[in-house]
């Protein structure tokens, strides 16, 4: 495929608190053994796109650890392959090489982007899990003779799983996007207003952007150069919204399942949604590749009670777990009861612990007799490598 994939590893704004402190959004663990970026990288690879650049901004250490040379995604290629673009300070760069907006990020990395042999670019963020056939998306883009194609979805049943800075698009009958409303604000209502504290959300009957765009590389280059020259640095406001009238921006409707994650509550919700077999089948419809850790199969010791849970390799379960998502190498000692929780890699729960609606980051130790309880919309979050 004649496409370069560009992934932004970070969210402009997110509310993931302790979870994105030690890592960029792209390397946030999810669904047991995966990281957010696995879903996007697998999407590219499953669509026969083997030329992918990841634009990072800060705390990308864990991401580089995770993706390595891209071997596990079959992205160690002579032509194309995986490139991780980190900010760099050059003596003549303005500022210090750190970018604050998408436009700046693209501008600073344009040399690398231009070096790709691909004619088109598909840009995406890291906060959404979806299953798009990018080959079909590119065909759509070419058929419609679009300057930019923006992916959107209609009728969102669960606004809690939509990024809250997702734009609303006004798509006309011919599929062209005529106007863009930023920060999901329309008639005084933002996505936040469709969400409610008790978890019962109001469906949104609008076209919401999913942060995926197709554009010819040469056009991207000139749009970005132009925007930089005028100091217009917001991709949505200064390119999409401003140029909606003059460019042919086409909307491509995505109709399948997606989960956007940009807050603690949506992170919790997305993980627990995976316990639903139908949703799991949709999310894992195509192979999702991830880094192999060579852990042993999970061990269940007599006396354990396990209900409705996802469990990864290397776990050892002696206690009770119910409605949980466990990453690799989690140990649950006997007489402990863990409910409705997400537990990341190598975390240990000692004896007689009681947890409900808790997110435990990697390498946490919960000592004997501790009790922690949160709520679905406000789970307790324990930072990486904490001893409770």
């Amino acid at each position: 495929m004649n496409v370069l994939g560009i992934i932004f590893s970070y969210a402009e704004r997110d509310n993931l608190r302790e979870l994105t402190k030690p890592r960029t959004l792209a390397s946030l663990p999810i669904g047991g053994k995966y990281r957010m970026i696995d879903f996007i990288l697998s999407n590219f690879v499953n669509s026969n796109i083997f030329d992918v650049s990841i634009i990072t901004k800060n705390n990308y250490h864990s991401l580089i650890d995770h993706v390595g040379s891209g071997k596990e995604w079959d992205l160690t290629r002579k032509i194309g392959g995986l490139r991780v673009l980190t900010p760099f300070a050059s003596p003549d760069a303005k500022g210090n090489g750190i970018y604050n907006s998408r436009v700046e990020a693209l501008s600073y990395n344009m040399n690398s982007i231009k070096r790709s042999r691909a004619e088109y670019v598909i840009m995406t963020n890291c906060s959404t899990i979806y299953n798009i056939d990018f080959e079909e998306l590119l065909r759509f883009h070419v058929d419609r003779r679009a300057d930019i194609t923006a992916v959107y979805t209609n009728n969102i049943q669960d606004p809690s799983l939509l990024a809250y800075d997702a734009p609303f698009y006004h798509v006309n009958d011919s599929g062209r996007i005529e106007d863009v409303r930023l920060f999901s604000e329309e008639n005084g209502r933002r996505i936040d207003d469709y969400r409610s504290a008790n978890g019962e959300n109001e469906p949104i009957n609008k076209s919401c952007g999913l942060g995926v765009f197709v554009i010819r590389k040469s056009l991207l280059d000139s749009l970005i150069a132009d925007a930089m020259a005028y100091g217009r640095l917001d991709f949505y406001r200064d390119i999409l919204q401003r140029l909606a009238g003059s460019l042919n921006i086409q909307g491509y409707e995505y109709q399948k399942y997606f989960m956007g994650i940009d807050s603690i509550s949506s992170y919790m919700r997305a993980n627990l949604k995976l316990l639903d077999v139908e949703i799991r089948n949709k999310v894992f419809e195509n192979v999702v590749y991830t880094k192999v850790k060579d852990s042993v199969p999970a061990e269940y010791v007599s006396g354990c009670v396990v209900k409705n849970s996802i469990i990864s390799d290397g776990c050892r379960i002696e206690g009770t777990i119910e409605n949980c998502v466990l990453s690799r190498g989690v140990k649950i000692a006997k007489d402990s009861i863990v409910r409705n929780s997400v537990i990341m890699q190598n975390t240990t729960i000692m004896e007689n612990v009681n947890l409900n609606y808790v997110i435990l980051d990697k390498d946490v130790i919960v000592r004997e007799n501790r009790k922690l309880s949160g709520h679905e919309t406000f789970p307790v979050v324990i930072e990486k490598a904490t001893i409770v």
Binding site: K71, F284, V288, D294, V296, P297, N308, I310
Partner: protein, 409 residues
């Protein structure tokens, strides 16, 4: 002649055996490719041992049903054996000039690949077989080999005297030098059994392999011919005692036992051992899911499984589905098996991709259960379908699909 970078020691892994005593399990695959321990195959053990011992050049000699084994090994990447210098090479028999021949025996297989070995100019050659489950540091064995200034070192394990007649046994002096070797003796003089792991000085071995090849009466086997010949000629043979877990998984019984050993905390076969990981080609499946009414007791479950029923003292490989109210106990369920609602599986090994339909029973005895009774292991072959409500008695080996007892609605 091609020259590659010199290696001190390379490994030659004999993986051509059929493993006929495993019956239907090795109908389509060579024994080293038989699944083991929830996510591994038997060959993962010697391969991982090599890599963990710092050996990065391995020739895998294949002959019987090599397709699955070749696909599994691929470029060796899961074992970190995709190397510029060395790595893993698959070595099938090939045609030489006008004549070509199969590997006539273990020694002949090595001889036929002497060009491969010569390429690396090794001082030592490690000969391994692909049908044992054990974790062993070959580097320590090589140190012993050098210290004793041996021509050949044979790894040995102590076995009970009454079982020694199944092995090649070694009588040694106080320096561990071998003075007598008996292959499967009726009256064993020692209980030090050969593990089928040898280190040879390559120059020495080469001479004996050529000599052996010139002997028309030879079976071209290490245990039967080469080792006795070396001993008779007065070469320095030493026995290196290995004290860990080692099991020949050549029979249905021993394969079942070795799998169950993983679940037994008292058996020193620890797979969850980060500095000595056993590497395997990964299934690439999502983590497994345990349903609302599942009951799990002392079992090991792998990626991609969906468990709704009851699992007791069993090893479940990747992508297995166990339906509601199904009972699996004391069994090994190989990858991609589907077990229908209410099916009962006891003391069984279910081969890859088999389908056990709803209500079927496998390996069940209707008589009252005696405590400590010896149960025969039931085996269902690869890709076999056992129809709904059909019943397979204990100890059977099923090679053909069987229809259901009732028409499926």
């Amino acid at each position: 002649m091609i020259y590659a970078k010199k290696k001190e020691m390379i490994a030659m892994l004999l993986a051509g055996g059929q493993g006929s005593r495993l019956g239907v399990l090795t109908k389509d695959v060579a024994k080293p490719a038989v699944p083991f321990g929830g996510k591994y195959r038997i060959i993962d053990f010697p391969l991982s041992n090599c890599v963990n011992s710092g050996i990065d050049t391995i020739g895998v000699l294949t002959q019987y049903q090599p397709l699955e084994l070749n696909t599994y090994i691929g470029n060796g990447q899961p074992w970190d054996l995709d190397r510029i210098n060395g790595g893993v090479s698959i070595l099938p028999p090939y045609v030489k000039g006008k004549a070509g021949e199969w590997y006539k025996g273990t020694a002949n297989a090595i001889l036929q690949n002497s060009n491969f070995i010569e390429m690396y100019h090794p001082d030592y050659v490690l000969v391994l077989s692909g049908d044992h489950v054990y974790k062993m540091n070959y580097e320590l064995m090589l140190d012993f080999h050098k210290e004793t200034n041996a021509d050949c070192t044979i790894a040995v394990i102590q076995v009970p005297f009454e079982e020694a007649n199944r092995f090649g046994v070694m009588s040694t002096d106080q320096n561990r030098q071998v003075y007598e070797f008996q292959e499967k003796p009726e009256d064993p003089k020692s209980n030090l059994a050969s593990m089928g792991v040898y280190i040879f000085n390559w120059e020495k071995l080469k001479d004996y392999l050529i000599e052996d090849d010139n002997d028309p009466n030879s079976e071209n086997d290490f245990g039967k011919n080469v080792i006795p010949n070396m001993l008779n000629a007065g070469e320095r043979l030493f026995a290196y005692t290995y004290g860990g877990y080692w099991k020949d998984v050549g029979t249905i019984e021993s394969l079942w036992e070795a799998n169950m050993d993983i679940l037994d905390p008292n058996v020193p076969l620890k797979l969850n051992d980060p500095p000595w990981k056993i590497y395997a080609r990964n299934a690439g499946q999502p983590p497994h899911y345990i349903g609302e009414h599942a009951e799990l007791k002392n079992c090991s479950i792998s990626e991609g499984c969906m468990i709704y029923g009851k699992v007791d003292h069993s090893i479940i490989f990747p992508s297995v589905t166990i339906g509601n109210n199904a009972i699996v106990s004391n069994s090994i369920i190989m990858p991609n098996v589907s077990i229908g609602e209410g099916a009962v599986i006891e003391y069984a090994i279910i081969g890859e991709n088999a389908i056990i339909e709803q209500g079927a029973t496998v390996g069940c005895i209707n008589t009252a259960k005696l405590s400590g009774e010896h149960r025969e292991i039931t085996v269902i072959g690869q890709d076999i379908r056992i129809g709904a409500k059909n019943s397979i008695p204990a100890g059977e080996m099923v090679e053909f699909s069987l229809p259901g007892k009732e028409p499926l609605r």
